[in-house]
Amino acid sequence: MTVEAEAAIHADPHHIPADADYLTYERGWKSWLTTVDHKRIGVMYLISILLAFFAGGVFALILRTELLTPGRTIMEADTYNEMFTLHGAIMVFLFIIPSIPAAIGNFVLPIMLGAKDVAFPKLNLASLYIYWVGAIFTLVAITQGHIDTGWTFYTPYSTRADNSAIWMTIGVFILGFSSILTGLNFIATVHTMRGPGMHWRRLPLFIWGTYATAVIQVLATPVLAITLALLAMEKIVGVGVFDPALGGDPVLFQHFFWFYSHPAVYIMILPGMAIVNEVIATFSRRKIFGYMFIAMSSVALALLGFLVWGHHMFVSGQSEYATMVFSALTFLVAIPSGVKIFNWLATLYQGSISLESPMLYSLAFIALFTIGGLTGLFLGTLSTDIHLHDTYFVVAHFHYVMVGGTVFGFLSGLHYWWPKITGRLYDERWARVAFSLVFIGFNVTFLSQFVLGSRGMPRRYYSYLDQFQPLHMTSSGGAYVLGVGFLVMAVMFAKSLKSGEKAGRNPWGSAGYEWQTSPRPHPHNFAEQPVFTRGPYDYHLASERELFTGTDAEWDTHVAKKAEA
């Protein structure tokens, strides 16, 4: 080390060498638990939600095993009811809602903006701790209280026996608080921390999607607190709000629940769409077609998401007029969803398309989300919804949106940014094997459930009529294939962590800004403040160095060879 460099370190205690990377710059568990680095917080979120996903997945396989036969297969009816409650609550509250924003968003968003960190780094760490507390609280509440109400915990079933539903709502609210803080943080970061040259029309579409998500998180989640307060008042003070025995209205609870939980559906799907934008642009080498229309369709979905909660309640006994209005508004959701799909297709046109695993997941997203969206039309149309409501058709529909959409988007992003997060490449062949298994397994599992539903098989059924058994067995078979696919993927990623080839800074040759940092980013993301002189998808303006896919050493060889020639 030169004398000047040493002097600089003494002068500035916060100086970090330019070749430091965020994973190894500090070591030890203490450095992780007290870090304010958004990337480390993102990684800790990632590990947490993957654990939740694993647990939720195991419960799903247990459920599908029980459903192999009508009547008892491996467990009793009350155990089955607890299992599907755990599956739903874990997947929704512990996995999907925080998955893309809190894990991947935390990692990528500040880098994309050219910022050193989020606007409130300590708040960011606090929201992770709150997530952990909420997760433990919720799980303890469900398992100790033997909650078997489903993730929707409708009254009066959920409030009849004891207070465990209140404990669970508190747990979910704590988790919601974590979402609110993350959302606030992202909004403030996008508004105030954009690097020089990063104006709104240059924002990567991932940021637009995450921004729209953050707005919903901040506005919708407080409703959960109101619901909790009312539930508590009813149970503790005896004020009749939801319980008809006290003069309350059980349908009112459904309004409250969906007033939060429907916008939460958009908290889940918008970030998935946001990832698809980035991946399609990178693997087509082309700017996303209709940039502003895609950005505004995210904002439109965020707004419409607040106005359609009543479509969960067409048969609940809400007024016919409300039902009419909610049906009409629900159809409007199809417009911005369609705009996105059409623009993605137009982006492929005249592109230079390669099919690495992130792109496979994003293309699968388009196909599966299309099925999810089209089957939504059956449920928005009143006459068909009356028949299909609360059947397996609904189960299949929302799994096509939540898994085919959000989870495939999440997997696309995980494969895409894996080299940036870990600094290592993974075995593309095994990634494709895993993709094929997941894609086939998923479709077998849930296509059969559409037919089960349209033939009249209600959901949340422990036992069923014999005539439904072949389709149930098909669905369970698909679920096992899906499980094997995830197992292959886990091994593939574990191998990459252990012995994967070292990645260059931009293995996909993307024009996106986050690929211009070192393979594993510097603790402050960029050793020097970047200045943005082009958009994130301007391939024709990006330099050869920026799009080079190899390591820095390979670049030097490449330059030397060129000079020779």
């Binding site: 109400t149 008809p244 299309t370 039309l377 009143l382 068909t384 609360d390 036992s463």
Partner: protein
């Protein structure tokens, strides 16, 4: 509209309209899916990455195209909304002069009360080709009255009445009645019941609708309510047989054994009648006619010791029916 393999049999006047819409949506969806994925696969193949061929820069997009694909789908959406709403209005507004039947949902049984006061449990006679209105309420949690063959569904809510109506278009046979399901999750008995048994949890909360000729229903309304036709013989035998019939049809068997052995979830009926039983709170009572009658109509009034946490709903049987149940109970000890 012809019967589709994707849908249950069409047994109400609503079914053809609903199925038409379902199949219309199905084919629109298939066409849209094939178009979208077809274009996607074609582009992926046609514009696959080749050496020396760069992507054509996107430029500034195409506003006319954006406006077209934003507003053209609206035409289809408005049509879907209108057609769906049209049928929904028909389903929501019952015609004048319906035959009314009261329905009470309770964990995990359906109780039907006809206009002549006769009650049926987990089954109901329904006249064919007649608008029938169900006036429904729940005595505990949310349920949902769902008849796939009729394409109708409506939540059954405690503290309020909800209604639905339908007109059955075909007679049913005793072997193939029209099935009612519960479509709103309503839980399960705790611990150790076989979940495949009828009427022990949400998934087995079913009822059978027997669609009978109008004339038969009219006769039933005039004279109905006696013991079922299969109970024959001496008056005592008819009474016992009727009581057993009520025991089986009303879901009593889900909780009450008759073998003298199992005492869960409710007290066993064998060896019960005429004996002294200890009550919750320390008192005791003789299980005589008066006590059995009260326990059916007001189960929470005097609870047998050890069963304080069981929430049996009241069963509004008529006096003759209660007598038959008692006759059946006594026959168990003979």
């Amino acid at each position: 509209m012809n019967q589709s393999a994707q849908l249950p049999p069409q047994l109400s006047t609503f079914a053809p309209d609903v199925d038409w819409m379902y199949l219309f949506l199905f084919w629109v969806s298939v066409a849209s899916f094939v178009a979208i994925v077809g274009v996607m696969v074609y582009f992926v193949f046609r514009y696959r990455r080749r050496p020396g061929v760069d992507a054509v820069p996107t430029g500034h997009g195409n506003t006319a195209l954006e406006i077209a694909w934003t507003f053209l789908p609206l035409i289809l959406l408005v049509f879907l909304f209108h057609e769906g709403f049209r049928v929904y209005v028909q389903e929501s507004v019952a015609p004048q002069n319906t035959v009314d039947i009261h329905v009470r949902g309770m964990q995990w049984n359906w109780e039907f009360t006809h206009s002549n006061g006769v009650q049926e449990f987990n089954q109901a006679k329904i006249p064919v080709h007649t608008p029938v209105r169900m006036i429904m309420s729940s005595s505990d949690v949310l349920h949902s009255f769902y008849v796939p063959d009729f394409r109708i569904k409506r939540d059954v809510v405690p503290g309020m009445y909800s209604t639905l109506w339908f007109e059955a278009t075909e007679l049913s046979t005793p072997e193939h009645p029209v099935r009612v399901f519960c479509a709103e999750y309503c839980g399960a008995a705790r611990g150790g019941t076989n979940g495949a048994e009828p009427n022990t949890n949400h998934s087995t909360m079913m009822a059978d609708l027997h669609i009978i000729p109008q004339a038969d229903y009219a006769t039933f309304l005039r004279e109905g309510g006696g013991p079922p036709a299969e109970c024959t013989g001496a008056a005592d035998d008819v009474s016992v047989c009727w009581g057993q019939h009520i025991y089986e049809q009303n879901g009593c068997r889900a909780c009450h054994g008759v073998d003298g052995a199992t005492q869960a979830p409710g007290p066993n009926w064998k060896g019960l009648f005429g004996h002294d039983v200890a009550l919750e709170g320390g008192a005791s009572v003789t299980a005589d006619e008066a006590y059995i009658r009260q326990s059916i109509l007001e189960p929470q009034a005097q609870i047998v010791h050890g069963f304080g946490n069981i929430n049996m709903p009241p069963y509004h049987l008529r006096d003759q029916e209660i007598d038959a149940v008692i006759a059946y109970m006594r026959s168990l000890d003979q």
